[in-house]
Symmetry: C2
Subunit: 367 residues, 2 copies
């Protein structure tokens, strides 16, 4: 079986350093908000080219906390609206609802799967306070257009970078450094994955960073003094230390993903299959390699019977989830089409060239 | 310096097993919601004598999720009231506010520091839906009285067991098995401490457990199907594996704490110092050994100058925190007195007999 993602193998490549990091943290006697966290935050800030990186417990919390911080700073309030793609992992949307703000879904662009920037302006109302673009599957959104709209209407831009660590535009700007703040996930399967749940927020805004640091720590800047009604969402010393190990090789691993993607793009040749399109090589970090086909379910079974494991990202659109029953009458045809047609091929820094060849061979024989 | 808590030493006692557990999890290739979590949940359920133990990200989330689950089940709603001690770590109260319910503070009993069960009934209104007793410092609350009131008024009882792992009453019932549900923290400094943030919920209620399992996982019972607008609050495989190691020795470590406490109780002899009182030996697990004195700040400095590190749990009462500015006019004189008089002595399973003797000697010489 060719695995969709061989996390065992990915982490074995770092095994020696991960064991050392674990023992170092164990022996330090310090497990929460210490030097390992500081070091990782500083490493990750440099990596993204931002002023502040702030470790948090996971990617959903990162987004929840950003919105919450803007509420504490008096910029957002209950009932305000945030524009978000209709085609995304549901966490992007949950973060808005969790803060009692209203997610306003915008259809994606069929060629990039990302939010269609041409459809944003018509959704802006007096209540709109932010745009939350998601760099889905690893590819940057059309950030020039989005930032221009945000400027025109005085909206915050909150990037969801859960799938796009290191994605870079022509100017060298990286995901997490386009908007006012960004949320990252280090879920184990992400391009930069911890050995458990983990996440981070990046921002260049000192005041926001300062508010966030209290909100994630029970609302406390200083021990036993609670300024806000905060939550507990800290990045453990342990995961921070493990992430520092893996961050060192991230660009190398991303390059390996790009090489796999480039083979898929060049060698998959089947009229039934629609391949992803990219403009600028570095703007995609290939967290997922997503094909489209009208015969998606048959393709899934066909690949499985050929010992190739794939995953559907995602089978049910957010507006059709029971959690958003209030949206069940709304229709987002492009997003719904994507949800019914996409399939994610095996891709990772550790997949072998022969496995890639086999995936290509089998796909080209799909009739 | 005699440390307040030597976590380095505590964890070194488990070092071999912790290293093994880490390597086992690393090599499994599986880091979220797998067998280590199942195993720990089952171990911890047995330990507490309950039907369900559910791993979560931390102790605050445990309480937040319980209240949230009762909201999803239609039993609690925004604006409902929950009775909680005025003298507690602020997280107990934050969990209520985070759910848009109203914390109703009740004064503690000066002899136990726990909620005064005689003062609960007068605070019950039509809006009261639950009592949230906190077994503070490691000592069980007066659960018979609390459960009786809850029964009379049809209220849920949500125990905060962050400080009371394994505390047991005369019948052998353990903390976490008295009420309808309970929240535990495995913050590193807790009696059962992970190497990072971690927590659990215990309950005997199948429906509640089932709802909780979805709420903590983005609202999802089944992958990619979201029933609720949930959060991300999972206990990592890694922390679960480390906790299983430490759980095996918990009772032994608690016994060591009891022996230290018993020496303090027997040998500290100074009119200026008020010692804690207990009824039943096993009803206290001595997470903290808390003295009271009107000269608290002087005692703190005196001990420090004698190389004895202490901590104040807690210096500022919740009703005087900026986060609860709406309460700044309210007055809870007993809770406020406690906050101004308490001081926590060094106690742990690893403190040496000679260090305990030294603490006693220095305290007895305090004039
Ligand atoms: C845009 C966006 N915004 C916010 C978020 C929220 O971030 P979060 O709170 O950090 O999750 C996400 C999260 N996004 C992901 C989401 O994309 C989805 O990812 P997925 O690819 O379906 O993940 P998966 O199937 O669990 O794992 C991928 C593969 O890896 C294998 N595996 C997995 C694990 C965990 C393992 O230990 N060992 C393995 O071998 C199994 C699968 O084959 O589900 C996750 C729970 C979310 O964190 C997002 O995409
Ligand atoms: C009743 C109640 N309900 C809910 C909660 C919420 O649970 P939580 O969300 O899991 O925190 C609590 C949490 N309660 C505790 C709270 O009691 C307080 O505990 P504390 O004793 O002040 O903790 P501390 O000073 O950070 O650590 C104690 C000693 O241990 C040392 N130490 C500490 C760490 C972390 C380390 O790595 N190495 C060390 O050597 C330093 C100190 O000398 O603050 C914590 C952040 C909370 O988790 C509670 O008490």
């Amino acid at each position: 079986m060719i695995k969709f993602l061989d996390l065992y193998k990915i982490n074995q490549n770092h095994k020696k350093e991960l064991l050392q990091a674990f023992e170092r943290v164990l022996d330090s006697g310090w497990y929460i908000m210490g030097n390992e966290l500081k070091q990782f935050e500083s490493n990750f800030a440099v990596y993204c080219g931002v002023k502040h990186a702030i470790g948090v417990a996971n990617g959903l919390d990162a987004l929840i906390l950003i919105i919450r911080a803007y509420k504490e700073l008096g910029l957002f309030k209950d009932g305000d609206e945030i524009i978000v793609p209709a085609n995304t992992y549901i966490a992007s949307i949950l973060a808005i609802s969790a803060n009692n703000l209203v997610p306003i879904l915008v259809e994606p662009d069929l060629s990039s799967y990302n939010i269609d920037s041409k459809l944003i302006e018509e959704k802006i109302t007096d209540k709109t306070v932010a745009i939350l673009p998601v760099h889905l599957y690893g590819q940057l959104c059309d950030m020039n257009a989005i930032l221009e709209i945000a400027k025109k209407y005085n909206l915050k831009v909150i990037e969801d970078c859960a799938q796009s660590h290191g994605a870079t535009n022509e100017d060298g700007t990286r995901a997490g450094n386009f908007g006012d703040a960004a949320g990252f996930s280090f879920y184990p399967g992400k391009n930069l994955g911890a050995l458990g749940d983990a996440g981070a927020i990046t921002t260049n805004d000192d005041k926001l960073a300062n508010t966030l640091r209290a909100l994630l720590n029970y609302g406390s800047h200083e021990k036993y003094k609670n300024k806000y009604k905060g939550i507990n969402s800290r990045l453990d010393e342990l995961q921070a230390a493990l992430l520092s190990v893996k961050l060192e090789k991230l660009d190398q691993e991303t390059e390996a993903r790009r090489e796999v993607a480039e083979r898929y793009l060049a060698e998959i040749n089947n009229d039934k299959l629609i391949l992803p399109k990219i403009n600028f090589r570095k703007s995609h970090v290939w967290h997922l390699f997503v094909l489209r086909t009208v015969e998606r379910d048959r393709l899934y079974q066909y690949l499985l019977s050929n010992n190739i494991q794939t995953v559907i990202h995602y089978p049910i659109p957010p507006n059709k989830q029971e959690a958003y029953i209030e949206w069940s009458d709304l229709s987002y045809p492009i997003s719904e089409q994507i949800h019914s047609e996409v399939i994610s091929l095996p891709i990772s820094p550790v997949i072998s060239a022969s496995d890639v060849s086999e995936v290509i061979r089998v796909l080209n024989e799909f009739k």
